[in-house]
């Protein structure tokens, strides 16, 4: 063999050795504990808070608020359903749920709820229904519990449940006596009347085998304004069968919610 073929042979050997070494290294790394990581589902904990005038809603007569129309009012009760939470990714895909959650101001147990096994990924929007969708809002559509019995909407000809009971007292000014307001919303005379809410998240929820917390705030004053100032006296106390009143509240209800906090637990 001449010098070059010796060199070629040596080169070939070295190539083989190199190749073998690379193979060994690859095999070694392949046998490590580190397998390629697949993102896993996680949980999202939702908390529903209530505010008026940028402060926590206070129940009872000590706290008097001023309605946009000019009625001093206090809040006695707030009970409602939210449902069908969906989480949106920026590619337009989303994760839907058909959860129904009952929330009552003053009942701590109802303040938060957890959605489990949310698929991994980055979510930048949340949407839900204030109230119940048409399929759920039928007689017997919800589980037959004491709580759901108390929300039944029994108007003959209608079906389902109250979406919201927002009750309190207001100073009527014109007659000088304190009257009651009962903002009870729900489906009546074939109008579904639920409110669809979509909110951008100020920072993304990134699910990967973890838990994220989203706090939502409902500004109760916004039920009484934007776009229409709600006059307790105009519609009177009984509005369940008053579709005009229901529509005013439904329109006002589109912007009552905001996102207060998004954080990984």
């Amino acid at each position: 063999m001449d010098y070059f073929s010796k060199k070629t042979q040596k080169h070939k050997k070295m190539k083989k050795l190199l190749g073998l070494s690379v193979l060994v290294i690859l095999l070694m790394t392949a046998c490590d504990d580190e397998e390629p990581v697949v993102p896993e589902p996680g949980d999202i904990k939702l908390t529903l808070l209530h505010s008026v005038d940028d402060q926590n809603l206070q129940i009872g007569e000590e706290r008097i608020y001023m309605s946009p129309v000019g009625h001093p009012f206090s809040v006695s009760r707030l009970k409602y359903y939210v449902s069908n939470f969906s989480f949106h990714k920026n590619d337009g895909s989303k994760y839907d749920t058909d959860i129904v959650h009952y929330r009552e101001e003053g009942i701590e147990d109802t303040k938060s709820f957890i959605l489990e096994k949310v698929p991994s990924g980055e979510y930048d929007k949340i949407s839900f229904i204030y109230g119940l969708d048409e399929a759920t809002n039928v007689d017997g559509g919800l589980e037959n519990t004491l709580t759901n019995q108390n929300m039944i909407w029994p108007i003959p000809g209608d079906q389902g449940y109250h979406y919201m009971k927002f009750e309190g007292r207001y100073d009527s000014l014109s007659t000088g006596v304190i009257l009651n307001f009962n903002l009870h919303t729900g489906a009546t005379q074939n109008n579904q009347n639920y409110v669809e809410i979509t909110l951008d998240l100020p920072n993304k929820v990134i699910i990967d085998n973890n838990t994220w917390e989203i706090d939502l705030v409902m500004d109760m004053m916004e039920w009484l304004q934007n776009p229409t100032d709600y006059d307790f006296a105009e519609f009177g106390q009984a509005i369940m069968m008053n579709q005009n009143a229901q529509e005013v509240l439904k329109a006002n209800g589109t912007d009552v919610w905001s996102v207060d906090r998004v954080a990984q637990q």
């Binding site: 037959n144 004491l146 108390n150 029994p154 003959p156 009651n180 009984a238 069968m241």
Partner: protein, 344 residues
Amino acid sequence: MIVLFVGSSCDDEGPMVIDLPDYDPTPYNLAYPEYLPIMEIPEDNPMTEEGVALGRRLFYDPILSADSTLSCAGCHKIEYSFTDERQFSVGIDGSEGTRQAMHIVNIGWMPDLFWDGRSQGAEAQALEPVENPIEMMDTWPNVINKLKAHQEYPELFYAAFGEEEITKEQAVKAIAQFERTLISGNSRYDAIVERNEGFFTDAEQEGFEIFNTERGDCFHCHGGILFTDNLFHNNGLDAVFSDLGLEDVTGDPLDRGLFKTPGLRNIELTAPYMHDGRFQTLEEVIDHYSEGLVHSETIDPLMKQIAQGGIQLTQQEKNSLLAFLKTLTDTSFINNEAFKNPFE
């Protein structure tokens, strides 16, 4: 074979040894119409045949009172749907109460009992009348001694609870088990609305609509299949309250004059009405909600048209509402053999 040592108070010969069978209670199959909600039974008091039978005996047994003259049934009479026809019940020494006995129907679905809701659950409620000086006027230790000395109760208690000695906790558990069986779901209302059997008369139908719309607005407190929301309301009876109601329990002035919403099943049978039995008839009750509301600081936000004194029903509407309320009467309930006095 279980050997039970019975403590004897008499002599030096040591405790009696009684051979008793194994503790093997039979689960009680509590059946009720599917349109009623699921009844949550406390985990520490599962329903058994032996427990229910014992509770029924105790309910009707005057042994629970100091002079052995007054049983639960003495004020909670089956023919009146387990309430008293008197405005105020009378204790063993002739003392009168200050509130009308509440009727015992569907209490298994009631988280709080008494007009002021001070007892959570039937077990807690049953502790009170025995020691109440204006009712049975006894003490539980004394009652337990009477039960232990009784010819049959030790065996019945053992069969129900399997414990060495009779306790007051067992006694009220048994009574609670019996009371949970007192279920009404078979009135004409149920047949018509829940089972599509038959029809309301025109008057009853009008009454149904008044009840279930904001015209009468009854449903906001007396709604659902239980005809009560199990909550507390000031329904405009007085401007000033001598009986503070819920405030007695919570100490909160915002709860002054609030009383528990009673269920309306069998309401035709349970006169007189309200916490103090002030209304003798259902007509008076309807008149109250129609014209008789009295304002107070804590009057419920749901009360409608307070400024006018109420919902201003016409005479025809009042008649119709009354007709509807009568459809809630369940004769199968008051005639149920299983609810009657086992000693008779």
